[in-house]
Symmetry: C2
Subunit: 147 residues, 2 copies
DNA sequence: AGGGTTGTGAGAGCGATTCTCAGTCTCGTT
DNA sequence: AACGAGACTGAGAATCGCTCTCACAACCCT
């Protein structure tokens, strides 16, 4: 799916929040806007630093947004959790993670590799009795400034 | 690389520890043995429970073993960190992770997919200025007992 | 306007992990 | 065999990301 323009993004977010009985408050809007602007997963520390509100509210609202399917918690290395907009609000992508400084950068891979991978994943999932399996492909290395 | 038999495994571990000025003590041996036996990543809680020593020593020794390149911290979901033997002591594999209960199970994928993926990863790495890039492919879903 | 629900912010609380430190063990050297 | 330097251990304290609590404010619907 293509990345939504800001107007549609906020409308979609509002709708999803309504769907779980929550409101789209200015603070939550600020969180979504920050994640949109970053175009790469932000650590909770970065988010808190970005004047989107006090710590407890940031954590609470990230949890609400995650529950509403608006954001996704990204598992990287390092001490802080990271969040990014849900994939269906942006587009399917992978992460290039610096194992030294923890920086995360979005990357996409060739569609045919994506397809091949999905087929293999499906087969494995079926064989192992897992359901609703999605894949997570991350590239882990050392970024230029940490080299 | 093939999985090492126990005899070689412990010899290799001892050597790597020596390489960083550390000793292969009985407690560290017990940790390595536990990870070998499990054949799947163990959470710190499971390791502590398995009578390999007091908590503080378990954490310290896991850190030492990680630094020596003997074990690897696995990032899954859930409250506890997980550890497994380093890949060059076992063999390259991926993880099937239950997003509900956090259980982790090893899986391998077809070698040709592995090759294709590595090629794509190399290309991306070169383009982005990252060095020593390895891939991490995890399958995340719901296991049978959590369905 | 009223009442019920949801959101907010400050601080307390929680829990996994790390640190500290005094005492012990090991190993190479004499 | 005794010694000394450095590694190891274990118990508890400390740290720190994160979550919870609670009193108060904002919002929505009728």
């Amino acid at each position: 799916m293509m990345r939504l323009v800001a107007r549609d993004l906020h409308a979609t977010v509002a709708e999803r929040l309504r769907g779980v009985g929550q409101r789209y408050t200015p603070q939550r809007e600020a969180l979504v806007a920050a994640l949109e602007r970053a175009r790469t997963p932000l650590s909770t520390a970065e988010i808190v630093r970005s004047r989107t509100g006090p710590q407890s509210s940031v954590y609470r609202n990230l949890a609400v947004l995650e529950h509403a399917g608006v954001v996704r918690r990204v598992i990287a290395e390092g001490e802080f959790a990271r969040y990014e907009l849900a994939e269906d609000l942006t587009e399917h992508h992978h992460h290039l993670i610096c194992s030294n400084c923890g920086r995360v950068q979005d990357v996409t891979i060739p569609p045919d590799l994506e397809t091949t991978m999905d087929r293999a994943v499906d087969r494995l999932a079926k064989r192992s009795g897992f359901a609703k399996v999605r894949h997570r492909l991350d590239l882990i290395g050392t970024c230029r400034s940490c080299a």
